[in-house]
């Protein structure tokens, strides 16, 4: 079922809950790929009913970002959702989600400043606002987020904890193309040449991971290793290379607890992200 209003979602979810059914929820910006499908399939396997939202959220884009250009294809998205087993797809217009005089802000301070937040100052405030709203509208038992957006996942977990929201946040592994590129709706922006160059993200992370598994613990050396790999790719320009505590997202100097190794790299004009979490046994 494809619906466009908050009212329709609420009515359907209330009817399910009245029957005692559990509800899983997958928030997306649409233009769905295998990464999203893996989230939906996990939600389907763990809940009686699954809601997917498809909404390119204006409040999480900065003024010079790609809100207008972000790819959209609701018919294809709806087909993928249905095929993956979702029961309800919620595709609201911005006007359905936001009042013109909205003035409420939700922020997870401390986790939102570094990494992607450094160059995208309004981004995570917009994410927190829209995810709060969707969680309040869908009232799921579980909500599924990709680990590719590692900072987003950490922030949402913290927000849900701090606001006592009654939902379990489930992180799901990154899904990659056969050659290792992390799936992203923004991969569609890449030319054929850039598509090849984009492999440098996963290649540099794989190199760092191997070195860490071999015992490398010095963060500046890990960073240098990633940086030099990226520099060898002429079409690539690193935005950030960060090794941080996997929960607090605070920088560390050496790897003495679980860390998130996260990078953002421009391939031509397209900014891509990738990461892995390194767990001390």
């Amino acid at each position: 079922m494809l619906v466009h209003t908050i009212k329709e979602v609420r009515e359907q979810v209330k009817a399910w809950k009245k029957e005692g059914l559990t509800v899983g929820y997958v928030p997306t910006m649409g233009y769905l790929h295998e990464g999203h499908r893996s989230l939906i399939e996990k939600a389907v396997s763990e809940n009686d009913r699954v809601v997917v939202s498809v909404f390119v959220n204006p409040t999480q884009f900065g003024p010079n970002e790609d809100y207008e250009d972000y790819p959209r294809d609701i018919q294809k998205d709806y087909a993928l959702c249905t095929d993956a087993g979702a029961n309800l797809v919620f595709n609201p217009e911005p006007e359905e989600m936001y009042f013109p005089d909205k003035c409420t802000t939700v922020n997870v301070e401390g986790l939102s400043k570094g990494l992607c937040g450094a160059k995208r100052p309004v981004h995570f405030g917009g994410v927190c606002l829209v995810v709060s709203k969707f969680l309040n509208i869908v009232t799921p038992d579980r909500a599924y987020f990709g680990e590719k957006d590692a900072q987003q996942l950490a922030i949402i977990k913290r927000m849900v904890r701090d606001l006592s929201m009654d939902v379990e946040i489930v992180g799901c592994p990154i899904v990659r193309e056969a050659d290792g590129l992390a799936k992203s709706s923004r991969n569609t922006y890449l030319s054929a040449e850039e598509r090849v160059a984009a492999l440098v993200l996963n290649r540099s992370l794989t190199k760092a991971k191997a070195a860490m598994e071999d015992g490398l613990r010095c963060v500046s050396e890990i960073r240098d290793l990633i940086e030099s790999e990226i520099k060898e790719e002429p079409l690539a320009k690193a935005d950030y290379i960060e090794i941080v505590d996997s929960e607090t997202l605070q920088p560390v100097e050496s790897v003495e607890r679980d860390v998130l190794v996260a990078i953002a790299v421009y391939i031509g004009k397209t900014r891509l992200i990738d990461n892995f979490t390194f767990r001390l046994a």
Copy 2:
């Protein structure tokens, strides 16, 4: 029933909802008076079950405010709640409500700057945070707030709307002592002499209201009228006298729509507030 943990509240409310019962909720800081009782009684009359929270919320007090001194008496409060028909009283410790590393903020910008927000910069952020949490814990059908805290009521209504929280916010009229003083837990701070002086709040507002009913529309004249009345009381010192749009809380120059006439006055060291909403027919 008196409970102290989030878990107990959630379990009880879920059991009620499973039976199809509606839930009303009254948030308080305790030291309950007839004003609170009127909220609880209204909640009881409109819902199958009623939850009252009693929690002196540290995050809504500024560093030099009266958090430590704020009066507390949970046994008396519990008796009043039960007598008024409440089914569950939730009295958490601060540690139950807040993690030491909490870093999520909720703000209703635009409505929080003026009036009480001008001198209490962290106050409404703290209110929004704690009310968000309580609404997420109690998940009531309706929540009841006193009109005495008019700015708080406007902010909570806006927050609930902007975050798509599925709850009806119900405002309830100010309850007054026989001589007109608005009921407040802080009235207990007043000496006998100050108690008499405190009548100037209601007296000055009543005068303004009468003049407005007689046709006075110029805001600066209304303000002068209130100010001169307060100045005649030697123990009183006005903190603010504001005439604002009743919804947006933005200042107006003349009364051409519904306005909130709100004052804060120091009586000795005790800061009291009062207000009325003037509706154009």
